[in-house]
Symmetry: C2
Subunit: 456 residues, 2 copies
Amino acid sequence: MQAIRRLVAHHALTPGDKLPSIRKFARDMAVSPSTVVEAYDRLAAEGLIRSRLGSGFYVLANAVAPRTADVAPPIDRAVDPFWVSRQSLDAGREMLRPGCGWLPPDWMPLAAIRRAMRAVAKTDDAVLVEYGSTRGSLALRRLLARQCLSEGIEIGAEQVLLTMSGTHAIDLICRHLLRPGDTVLVDDPCYFNFRALLQVHSVRIVGVPYTPAGPDIALFEEALAAHRPRLYLTNSALHNPTGASLSPQTAHRLLTAAAANDVTIVEDEIFADFEPEPSARLAALDGLNRVIRIGSFSKTLSASIRCGYIAAREDLIDSLIDLQLAIGFGGPSPVAAELVLRTLGDGSYTKHLNGLRVRLARRRREMIAELAKLDVRPWTLPRGGFYLWCQLPRATDASDVATRALREGVVLAPGNVFSVTQTATEFMRFNVAQMDSDVLKRLQRALEQPAIPSLP
Amino acid sequence: MQAIRRLVAHHALTPGDKLPSIRKFARDMAVSPSTVVEAYDRLAAEGLIRSRLGSGFYVLANAVAPRTADVAPPIDRAVDPFWVSRQSLDAGREMLRPGCGWLPPDWMPLAAIRRAMRAVAKTDDAVLVEYGSTRGSLALRRLLARQCLSEGIEIGAEQVLLTMSGTHAIDLICRHLLRPGDTVLVDDPCYFNFRALLQVHSVRIVGVPYTPAGPDIALFEEALAAHRPRLYLTNSALHNPTGASLSPQTAHRLLTAAAANDVTIVEDEIFADFEPEPSARLAALDGLNRVIRIGSFSKTLSASIRCGYIAAREDLIDSLIDLQLAIGFGGPSPVAAELVLRTLGDGSYTKHLNGLRVRLARRRREMIAELAKLDVRPWTLPRGGFYLWCQLPRATDASDVATRALREGVVLAPGNVFSVTQTATEFMRFNVAQMDSDVLKRLQRALEQPAIPSLP
């Protein structure tokens, strides 16, 4: 394949030219004819050459290689939720990412995933090539229903709908329940992508100040009265970005207020598996009456094997099935569901989770101590997970620091991308699993540099 | 695991009870302690039992197995696009599906997919567990760009965006370009799910009668003048459901008319790989100026490994990246992209496609002959693919036949689910790859039974 590519690149073979016969080229290259056949087939699959039945292979017109380098994330862009997503996802391998929302690969259950892959390589034909059922893998939905039961949420597999991802699950629910102009309550601060997602739905977004025990319940009740929201979107366990968890009292009052105002609650439990012991769950208190539970495996299993789920009332699930059919045809990838099922069922997975909790607890302690030396202090002490929501030294603009840090090769997550009211100017979300002495050194430089004019 | 499950099922172990110690249970079952440890870990992962640090394993409250059977598709539902999707996706294995839109598993490149799976099981950690780049796998986008070049569409990898599926790609574009109340032109008949998808976007759907050479160009021009549509959504190669392909003259006039009226065209090429030789392509004539090309691997590679793509102007791709981030976070599954890349690059894939074309050509001939015996005749003779769009015997209502066929264990695709104007009452789409003598026998019975009152 290289030899042919070189001949084309140097115009020794030009569009329309016939390639050497398989027998001749095999002789010239001193390989077997079958090797040449496979090389020609692959080059044909790539669109570089083409076979004409009975008359051999020809170089195609426009058989030119497209631009080779990938597109770097835009650097001259306002620091908004998309700034963080694009920087963390598209930054080159050399960049350090304490601002990103996932664990480094070597913290993930790689051995179990590779075992699952080898097992799926041997599984039924239908799983490998057919569209799945509309709700997705029954076996995985049963396992998720059993996990819900163990938290006191009594549901059957028919109340679980698999989706492409946790975010995709929230988008489905918003498309079904929201109309332009509706109002949605979120926590302030909240996961930055909630803001981006809700903007797509053209709804009014109202932020309720968050406390270390959950949303400020008095202000939550005021917001219900003042704005008559349709939906409240939150994380109860290890809230993103603060790492705080909902207290039982706040959970109870919140649910009572939501019921009085007929508000639907979407509880995104993506970080739940990082908790040492489950904290208060709105879904458990409510029994999935007005609460919709979202789950995902991106943080503890894999973000590459895309799969999330919705647990909700059966009538709601039934409507969401039609919606997911219309916009994606069929359920989520059966191969992905099978990989998740086998990894969750792998004997090592429980050990993996226990190991993660211990390792993260140690890392959080270490980083709290290191950050204190830079006068960067956590707003609260999370009981699990990899986030620290920190106050920067007085009068430091986190967005300026983030912009400067890019030039130091560090992607950060500045406070205001998480804040509807833009009142988190001096805050920064750190991912302790992505931090080391090198990150801290560069962070220190970014903190000390003189402020540069912030971008338009 | 079975032994413990049985004990719980028969209430020999009730919620809160401590399980036998690992050593004791290993002795009782005559297995090694490590076997028991793994069994307990798996039961814990399933939420049936729970380990308390240092004090062993306990049966969880509500450790009850949820309902075991999955939900059957609703039978008493109006025959609409969702009726076909749900019947074909959720019907039990025993159902025959000449109405579905995919090939049987044994027609797919299973060996190449299993090879790809085993290879991916050994690939880089990051591919297995990290979110991908926002555009998706660069290697796959390069391969797709080269395939476009071979059709005369000169683009670079930066003009390709990977998506969760072809349908998901169309939905992304609609979310970006359409507003409620806009008008969209589709072919009449068109792929039934286009109707379901466009309804989600609250747009006016106008159907243009389809001819064996493409849309009726005179009526297409009239529709442009009368309805000022924003978008035209079509398949140029092996149109679904008719199997017809666009003629060069129709393609040229259509593109000229679209340009004069500033209409964007979405060309869904999901069936292109079934063509013996490429037919006219709007994307090629236009050079991706106002044409957006959609591709997918669901029909020739796998519908389970969800991956599709959009090829378009770079400014449009850039906007779609933000939208895909907001609604799904990150690009499509890197694992899925890697599986597609390796299967496409597998030396056997070109042979697989050639084999499919030959096998389908023979099957189309056979089924045309068999259906003729039932007085069921194709509207046109497709040059590729697995669809036959057929006229039923005079005064036969295809929806009645489809409803009766369900009771015969056959899922059909009646004409009006494909028709915006509901003018395909006597037509039926058949998938020749899903047909055999048994299907034909049952179809004959469904055709001969007296009409039953159609559903509300």
